[in-house]
């Protein structure tokens, strides 16, 4: 056997010792490295063993997927009764939206996805046109959902379920960011009136629970408005939710503004840039980048807060679920409803969280510590 010879410094790396690679090594390293770790591993394994098989059993293996009512489900299987959810799926999705017009909800959702791709993905094909489309989207969606101008009008009290969550969530998210930026800038303004207004607005809104604002929106406003004026309930909710998250957004942005070194502001001034130009070109891009986790955090909070609209009698998925439980055919199936709604919210919120991570990585240029 020939002995390989290498010049000094050119010897290829030897393979790692066999006890440091492969699954066994990984297990030893990560699960069994110390007595405490061994105990924790054993406890976790026992815990998972206790939780996972019964859950799988309940959710899939011993579940009934068809049936006319709860008793038929129970006769078939002891686990979950998904027939309930599938019978009510349309109610969960569209709320009380008229059957013959539900294609309009589907179409607005599809267009929303197209607009989102253009906004969120910078290498999307036809991105420029897509961005124009995204700007026009709120009006297109409003027309599709509310009707008028050739479409059958649908009143907003017919909105419900997931579409209501999306309408409130997307509107709140879309409008709270720009308003929040303006409020944050206003709070640092040299003009006393603007500063006082911003501070007053932010502190007032943050000092009041969202439920209270929604309650005011749904009932108290009617006392103050002249009798006979009808002011759409959903519109009131959208305004309140947007204002509420704007106040939080403003504080997130303010944190970002204060994290930017003073030199950046001074450099912008030194270049002779006007206030808005310097904000747009120099300060805000940096602020928004470092504020991404906080911004998305606020978005997710807002999205989940949409379930509070049940207080004022709008039926979001959770409200639809609770009302459905009152159907005598299906009483007592609350686990199925809550699990179903939880999965929907998890998908949406997890999606937002993952996108924010992607964006952070993409915009990562410095500050790596």
């Amino acid at each position: 056997m020939q002995q390989e010879t290498y010049k000094p410094g050119e010897h290829p790396d030897l393979p790692p010792p066999s006890n440091t690679i492969g699954p066994m090594a990984w297990i030893r390293e990560n699960l069994l490295s110390s007595p405490t770790n061994i105990v924790m591993t054993a406890l976790s394994a026992w815990f998972l063993y206790e939780i996972i098989p019964p859950t799988l059993e309940w959710v899939f293996l011993d579940a009934a997927f068809t049936g006319e009512n709860r008793d038929e489900c129970r006769a078939k299987a002891a686990g979950a009764c998904w027939a309930f959810i599938s019978e009510r799926f349309n109610l969960f999705t569209y709320g009380f939206y008229p059957h013959e017009s539900r294609w309009r909800v589907d179409l607005s959702f599809l267009l929303l996805l197209i607009a989102l791709v253009a906004v969120l993905w910078d290498r999307a094909p036809f991105r420029k046109q897509g961005l124009y489309f995204a700007c026009a989207y709120p009006f297109i969606a409003g027309w599709l959902l509310l009707g008028g101008y050739g479409l059958e009008p649908v009143e907003t009290d017919k909105f419900g379920g997931f579409m209501l969550t999306l309408v409130v969530g997307v509107t709140g998210i879309a409008f709270s960011l720009p308003i929040g930026i303006l409020l944050a800038l206003g709070r640092q303004s040299d003009l006393l009136a603007i500063r006082l207004f911003s501070v007053g607005f932010i502190e007032f809104i943050r000092g009041v629970p969202l439920i209270t604002l929604l309650f005011v929106a749904s009932t108290m406003l009617n006392y103050f408005l002249p009798r006979g004026t009808t002011f759409d309930l959903l519109l009131r909710v959208l305004i309140m939710v947007t204002l509420f998250s704007s106040a939080y957004m403003a504080e997130v942005i303010r944190g970002g503004l204060q994290a930017i070194p003073k030199g950046q502001y001074e450099a912008a001034d030194a270049m002779g840039l006007k206030y808005w130009t310097s904000m747009r070109l120099i300060v805000l891009p940096q602020v928004l980048k470092i504020s991404i986790p906080g911004i998305v955090n606020t978005f997710i909070g807002l999205y989940k807060d949409t379930t509070l609209v049940i207080i004022i009698g709008l039926l979001d998925p959770l409200g639809i679920g609770r009302s459905s439980l009152a159907d005598t055919k299906w009483t007592g199936l609350s686990n199925e409803v809550y699990l179903f709604v939880a999965i929907f919210f998890f998908i949406s919120c997890f999606g937002m969280a993952r996108y924010s991570l992607y964006l952070e990585r993409k915009l990562e240029t410095e500050h790596k510590r």
């Binding site: 019978e87 109610l91 009152a326």
Partner: protein
């Protein structure tokens, strides 16, 4: 601030506009739609079906009023409300009328400025216990842990009952009925207490209903009925007489099936004729036409039909008529005559 105070404040705020609020009938007719405040969901009384159509005992009364006033029982916009928002929604004008299994009490009538319509369901608070507890009477519940919804009249009734009988209990506070079911079936309380109609649906929702029993004692009076705002007597009259007409229809044997035959032309029974609008001029007294009651009954039928369809023995709730039987059958359902 308690809900009651908030509602009272809200009412006080609206007092100035209240006097100018007469004319709910005109408002409703101009709008072409009745705004009816219902619950967000209570088995048998109001809940949306799989197509999003509201169904239930209370819902049927909403539709009957809409049929009487607008000529079409489908022209109702249902305003779902929680126990906390129902009166504010009514008083602020979001709703025209309220059918939300609401107990008529003096403070709600006088303090919250509501006008109650005739009682459409006589309920009372009861107790649900597990059979293996071996309890046969509420008097044996000393020391029991009891699941109770906070902020309701049932909470106060429970305290009154145990104090009056010199017994102790351990309250397990819950917010909603589903929470009550979950806590009770999870053995976190020995007893669940709420209105008897609610107990029946709760028991039906349990995995093994036969292992549970509703104790015979009813410890409170819960006359449930519709309500309207103070300040518009004509509108209150309409609500009142629609409910009465539905009750009277049962007394007179008028139902959905024979409505056309009985009311087609004036017959020999003057009471039926007045109900049908073929004799006298009853409708114009409440600002409606002669066929108001016929339309109201035509939606879901008379009281017996509404009861059987939504909460009666053939439904999962399986409630007996009991107190809600007509006075001729030993109940206390007794409507003032239409004459």
């Amino acid at each position: 601030m308690t809900i009651k105070k908030a509602a009272a404040l809200a009412t006080a705020l609206s007092l100035s506009t209240m006097t100018a609020q007469a004319g709910t009938l005109e408002d409703v007719q101009a709008r072409g739609e009745l705004n009816c405040v219902v619950t967000t969901g209570l088995a048998g009384f109001a809940a949306p079906d799989e197509n999003g159509r509201w169904e239930g005992f209370d819902v049927s009364f909403c539709r009957a009023v809409a049929a009487a006033v607008l000529g079409d029982g489908e022209k109702v916009k249902f305003v779902p409300s929680t126990g906390k928002t129902r009166f504010t929604l009514l008083n602020s004008g979001e709703g025209d009328i309220l059918f939300r299994n609401t107990t008529e009490t003096m403070s709600r009538d006088a303090d919250l400025k509501l006008t109650f319509l005739p009682v459409n369901y006589y309920d009372g608070q009861g107790f649900l216990v597990r059979k293996d507890l071996g309890v046969n009477s509420a008097m044996e519940l000393d020391g029991a842990s009891i699941c109770i919804q906070t902020g309701t009249t049932t909470e106060l009734n429970l305290a009154d009952f145990f104090r009056a009988n010199n017994m102790n209990y351990e309250p397990v506070n819950i917010e909603t009925n589903e929470e009550g079911i979950a806590n009770y079936s999870g053995n976190r309380c020995d007893v669940y207490t709420t209105d008897a109609s609610g107990l029946a649906s709760t028991r039906a929702a349990l995995d093994d209903p036969s292992a549970h029993v509703i104790l015979p004692e009813i410890i409170s009076k819960e006359p449930l009925g519709g309500a309207v705002r103070h300040g518009d007597d004509q509108w209150a009259d309409i609500g009142k007489w629609v409910v009465n007409a539905i009750i009277i229809a049962e007394e007179l044997g008028v139902n959905k099936g024979n409505l056309d035959a009985m009311c087609g032309s004036a017959g020999d029974n003057p009471s039926i004729n007045r109900l049908c609008g073929t004799e006298g001029d009853m409708g114009s007294m409440i600002g409606l036409d002669a066929k108001w009651a016929v339309r109201a009954i035509g939606v879901g039928g008379n009281y017996a039909e509404l009861f059987d369809a939504h909460v009666g023995p053939d439904t999962p709730l399986a409630l007996a008529r009991g107190l809600n039987a007509s006075w001729r059958d030993g109940g206390i359902l007794y409507a003032a005559p239409i004459r």
